[in-house]
Amino acid sequence: MENKKNKSNSGKIFIIRFKGNKKGMLLAEETLKTVIAVIVIVFLVYFLVNLYFGKLKDDAVKSSEQILISSDQSIKNIIGSLKEGESKNLILQRVSTFGDNWHLLSFTEIDEENPNACAGKNCLCICDDVPSEILKTQANECNKDGICAVVQNLKNEKINLELGEILTEISISKQNKEVLITKK
């Protein structure tokens, strides 16, 4: 009965061979080996891709840190040196690599969620822009892969400036004890 059924269905001929002779058995073993090999290759590719993009992200974070905190002309240092009513211009260069779209963003008390490094205060972050917050929030992305600096008196306004191929010029000013950052 079983043979008759399988003969009418070419898709199951393989099973008859599998059960009936050693060649079929060999095929099953080979299939298993192939499946395992594919799994291993997928893992290897995943690992290498992660390693490569991890390195690119590290470089982007380092450049962001220079722009935001550590260099002499960093945003944080400029803000620290500004006096009331003063303003300074700054040109921001691209930090990201291909595929990424890093932005200068602000997180203030009006936002529902802030990156941990903001410590509940107003802050500026440079990180990859999240186009849709369905899967991942912007704060989460900046928390994981990004750099943030607390700017206590940052004005409660949304800043979202792309640091793309075209250089971005910003103006940093201090008015009424508040720090304003606008695109020029």
């Binding site: 941990n116 509940g120 206590q152």
Partner: protein, 307 residues
């Protein structure tokens, strides 16, 4: 069914599936144990010890740990923090004492000079953890006006054991006698709903980062970090390894010759201890509100831990 070899390969498949499933279950439990955090701490500790070696120029591998102390398990202010669930005020103090002791251990217990050749500044700080005190702690017995007393935290350190041989206080400061500090003022309070840094520091051998007052405020009010050094004498010398306290507060004057008596509501910001076997002094782990003026007053010229 007739072919035994065929059955064996089915068994193999089942076996592999079971193996993979078991592996996933083991992985799940390993992640639940949170061994990653411990190994990060160990990695930092190792890099601190390595830095003490003359030949090593490797950077410190230390990252800030994000902790949330909560009663009900909610922690809205931090993203994926390490949650510590507490039921009583004593458990809050225990959690804080452990954080402070972990920080002290990670950075060499005052026995290691871990800045190396780049020691050009006077006070290098390490923010070991950023702690959020969740709003649910308001409902804990003993918490009044959304505040947790730091004085009681220091009392806890003197009365509870860190190990079989010593209390937390003996481990951190070399003494259980904190009466001398109490005469200098209060340690202040922790405000629920805010984030605090658990921070310690290492100072230069020659310069004292707190000997002079410095201003960070605007106008008549100045936040200062002022070191009150205890008089060294056989009879009433400072207890343990303590050499002084950093007093922080606001002052109505901005003059250079500022005295502690000029301060409005002075607080002990940190306790400074002598290094053991080395000439550097250390700011023992202390809790200060994150990015606040009081934290600024500790005069951390560089932060060694990564965000």
């Amino acid at each position: 069914m007739k072919n035994k070899s065929g059955e064996l390969s089915t068994q193999q498949i089942v076996l592999i599936i079971i193996l993979i499933a078991s592996f996933i279950v083991i992985l799940f439990f390993l992640f639940r144990l949170g061994l990653g955090e411990k190994s990060e701490e160990q990695l930092c500790h190792n890099s601190v010890l390595q830095k003490a070696s003359v030949f090593s120029d490797a950077p410190l591998q230390c990252y800030r740990n994000y902790v949330c102390i909560t009663k009900d398990g909610s922690c809205e202010e931090l993203i994926k923090p390490e949650k510590i669930k507490v039921k009583s005020l004593d458990e809050v103090y225990e959690a804080l004492a452990n954080e402070m002791a972990d920080c002290w251990w990670t950075f060499g217990e005052g026995k290691v000079e871990y800045v190396g050749k780049d020691f050009t500044k006077n006070n290098y700080c390490s923010i070991c953890s950023q702690i959020y005190f969740d709003n649910s702690l308001e409902n804990i017995e003993g918490v009044e006006d959304k505040k947790i007393s730091k004085d009681k935290l220091y009392d806890y350190l003197t009365k509870n054991d860190y190990s079989k041989e010593q209390t937390y206080s003996q481990y951190l400061l070399g003494t259980n006698d904190l009466s001398l500090f109490k005469s200098q003022g209060s340690f202040g309070n922790i405000e629920i709903g805010k984030q605090y840094f658990n921070v310690m520091g290492i100072t230069s051998e020659v310069e004292n980062p707190w000997s002079a007052s410095f201003g960070a405020g605007v106008g008549a009010y100045t936040f200062i970090g002022l070191l009150k050094t205890f008089v060294l004498s056989a009879a009433s010398g400072p207890p343990g390894w303590v050499v002084g306290v950093v007093v922080v507060g606001t002052a109505a004057i901005t003059a250079g010759a500022l005295e502690i008596s000029d301060l409005i509501e002075p607080e002990i910001g940190a306790i400074v201890v002598e290094g053991r076997g080395i000439n550097n002094k250390f700011m023992s782990p202390t809790l200060q509100e994150a990015e606040s003026d009081k934290f600024e007053a500790l005069n951390c010229e560089e932060i060694l831990t990564y965000i």
